[in-house]
C-alpha cells in the first residue's frame, strides 16, 4: 500500500501555544498528539482554518504509532464533517460517493492529498477554538487536559442543541 503524498501540518500557532507543556517534565509524547487534539475540536465544531493558519513545513507524512489503527475512524470523521459543511443531504448518494472519492485514497492513511489538506485546516480551526477558550498557556499537561475536556464537552453540547433546534 502506498504512503501517498499526505503531509500532516501543524497549525501555525500550535508550537508556541504548547511549548510550555512540551518544556515541562510531563509532556505530550508526540507533537502529533496536540495536532490531533486541535483536529478533534475543529471537526466537532465544524470549524475550518485558513491556508495561512497552517504551517508550510510538515510534521509527519503518515500517522505515528498509536494513531495508525485510527485511520478509518479519522477518515470517517472527515467525511462526516465535510458532509455537514457541504450540506450533503442524507439521501444524496451521488454527492456522498463523490465526496468519498475526493477525500479518501488507497494508502496508509486512507486519505487523499485533498483529504489531508482538509484535516490540516480543521486542526487549524481547532487551534483557534483552543486559543479562544483556553487562553492561558499552561505548562501543566493535566491542567490542559481537564480544560480541554471541558471545552470538547461544551462544544459537543452546543452542537447537539443547535442540530435539534
Amino acid at each position: 500500500m502506498a504512503t501517498g503524498n499526505v503531509y500532516f501540518r501543524l497549525p501555525v500557532k500550535a508550537e508556541a501555544y504548547f511549548q510550555p507543556i512540551m518544556k515541562s517534565s510531563q509532556k505530550f509524547e508526540l507533537a502529533f498528539d496536540y495536532y490531533y487534539l486541535c483536529l478533534l475540536v475543529g471537526i466537532l465544531a465544524g470549524k475550518l482554518g485558513r491556508d495561512e493558519d497552517v504551517k508550510d513545513q510538515y510534521l509527519v507524512d503518515s500517522y505515528p504509532g498509536p494513531y495508525k489503527t485510527k485511520r478509518g475512524v479519522l477518515a470517517g470523521l472527515l467525511i462526516e464533517a465535510e458532509m455537514r459543511r457541504q450540506d450533503i443531504l442524507p439521501q444524496d448518494r451521488q454527492r456522498l460517493q463523490q465526496l468519498i472519492l475526493t477525500l479518501t485514497s488507497h494508502n496508509d492513511t486512507f486519505l487523499s492529498e485533498e483529504g489531508v489538506n482538509f484535516l490540516n485546516l480543521y486542526a487549524a480551526g481547532g487551534m483557534e477554538l483552543i486559543e479562544d477558550n483556553i487562553p492561558t498557556k499552561t505548562a501543566s499537561l493535566p491542567t490542559f487536559l481537564t480544560l480541554y475536556h471541558q471545552l470538547i464537552d461544551r462544544l459537543g453540547a452546543e452542537q447537539e442543541t443547535w442540530s435539534t433546534e
Binding site: A16, L37, K70, T146
Partner: protein, 630 residues
Amino acid sequence: MPEAQTKVKILGWRYENIRGLETMDVNLESQDHTPYPITLIMMPNGQGKTTTMELLLAAFTGGAEHWGRDQVLELRPPGSTANSGEFQLRLLIDGQRFVVTLELDYQTGSASYATTRIDISGGKEPGHNLPSSLKHVFKDQFVKRFIFDGELVKDILNGSKDEAEKTIRYLHNLDRLEELAVAIDHVKDDMQRERETASRTDRGLTRLRNQRDEAFGQMRQLQTRLAQLESQFNEATTQLEQRETFLQHRLAQSEQLQRRYEESQRQLETVRRDLVLKGQAAIASFREPTMANRLIFSRLNQLSSRLQRLKLPESTSRQFFTELAEEEFCVCGRPIRSTERDAILSRAESYLGHDEYGVVNAIKQEIRNSTYDDSLTDTINNLTELLTEESRHLSELRRIELEQENSGDDDVRQAAEERDVLRAKLTSLDEKIPSFQLALKTAKDNYESLQRKFNEATQTVEFIRKADKLKDITRQTSAAALRNLKATIIENTNRRIADVIHLEKISVEAIDGHLKLAGKGGASQGQSLAIAYSFLGSLFANSAFGLPFVVDSPAGPLDLEVRHEVATMLPGLFDQLILLVMSGEREAFADPFYQLAGVQFLTVVKDSSGPHCVAEIETFKKFQGGKEDI
C-alpha cells in the same frame, strides 16, 4: 586508561636571566630520569610564579614565537644588561628525554625555540620539535588544562560557566572536529566566491548575496540574544538552587517545621506521580476519537448507517465500466461506438475502484468496532481532584516557608526575598525565551532558504550538499564522542569522589557545561573543590596522554578547614603533581604532604647571591614569603 597513552613527565626546568628568578635550576628528579610523583614548590607571589606558569605554557605550546617585543622584554630582569635570556624545560616523553629551550633575545625583543632530543639525535636543533604526536595537540587551550590556574577550578561547578565541558573538549581534542567543521565552511565560501567572481556581472546574484547576508546577520543577532537569555536563565536557576538549599538547610534546623515540610513534600510527590499516570490514561482515551466525546461517536454511527442505507460502497466498481468500454457490445447487446465508449469511461470515474471499495469498507468496519463509555470523564474527574490536591500541598509548603521566614532571622528573610525575585525572574525568562526560540527558528529557515537559492545561483548545490553532509557527520561524531566521554568521566569521577568524601553521598549527575550534582543538596566549598579535582583527575586518566598536572595556588581560594580535605585527595589523582604554593597557603594544606613518601619540597629563596632553589623540607616548613605573599 587508554592502552596507547603517551606519557609526558617534567624532569625540571632552568631559568637564565629571567625577571624575578634570575638564573636558577628547578630539579624534579628523585633519581636519574625519574621525577618525584609530587613536588611542592614554595614560591613567593611576585617572585616568578605567574612567570613560571607563562614560560611552562610557552615551552609546551611553542607559542612564544608570536610574542610581541613588549612581552619578551618584560621577562628581562630589571636593570639587567644581559642581551639574552632563556627558559629550558626538561621533559621525559615515553621514556625519551627532550629539552625545549625558549630563547629570548632582549636586543631584538624576539623569542625562538631550540629542541634537544637527547636520546635520539643528541644535539640541539632550532625550532620547537616535540614528537609530532604531541606537537599538534599541544595548543594553548589544551596545555592550559594541565598547566593549570588553581582559581579556575571553581568554574568547573559554576552553573553559569562551561569550563567542565570545555576541558573535556580540549583534553580529548574534540575542538579539532569543530575546527574541521569551520575549515569545511571556508572551503565552501572559497568555492562560492570563485563562482561569484566568474559571474560578477549578474546583479541578481549580488542582490541574493546581500539578502542572504542580511538574513545571516538577523539570525546571529537572535542567537546572541537567545544565548544571553539562556545564560541569565541558567545563572538564575543556579542562584535559586543556592537560596533554596540555604532555606531548606535553615528549615531543617527547626525540627517541627521540617517534619511538616517533609510530610507535605512526600504527599506532593505521591500526587504528582498519580497525575502522571492519570494524565497518560487520559491521553490514551483521547486518542480513541469516539471515546473523546459522545457526539463524535453518534455522528460516526450515523455515517456508518447512512453508508449502509445508500449501499455504499457500491458493489459495481469502476473497473467493471472501464473493462466494458473496451468491449464491442454492451451487456444489453447493443454495440458500443466511440460516443458510448467515451460516456461510459467518463461516468466510470464517479464509481469507486476496487481499492477505494476496500478503503470505504475498512472505514465502515473501524466505525462499527469503535465504542463510547464514560471512562474518560471518570479519568478527567480524577485528574481534577489530583490537581486540587496538588494545589493544596503547594499552598501548605508555601505556608510552612512563610512561617519559617517570619520566625527566622534577617538572613532567612533576605534569602526568601531573593528566592522570590529569582522565581519571578525565571518565570519572566521562561515566557520570553520561547518567543526568541521561535523567532530564531524563523530567521534560520529564512537564511537557509536564501542560502539554498544562492547555492543554486552559483551552481554549487551539489558541492555544498556534500560539504554540509560532511559537516553534519563531523558534528554528530563530536556530539556522540562527547556523550560517551561524559558517561565514562561521570562514572570515574563519582568513583574518585566516593574515595575522598566519606561522610556524605555526593555524586555528579550530569555534565551540562558545568558539573551538576545529584539532588539539590549542594556541596561545601571544600567538597566542591574535591569534586572538581576528582573530575580533572578522571579526565587525565581517560585521556590519550599521561600528563603532569601543574597547579598554581591550589589552596588559594580555600578556607583553612577545607584545605586539609583537598590536600588529602590531590595525591591520588595525578601521576605527576607539581604544586606552586605561597607560604600563606601552607597552613593546613601542606600537612598531609609531610606524611607522604615520594614528595619533594622545594623553596625558592632569595639572598645576596640571588634567588636559588633549596630542596629541604625544613626550609619549606619555615619559609615566610614576605609582604607580597599575603
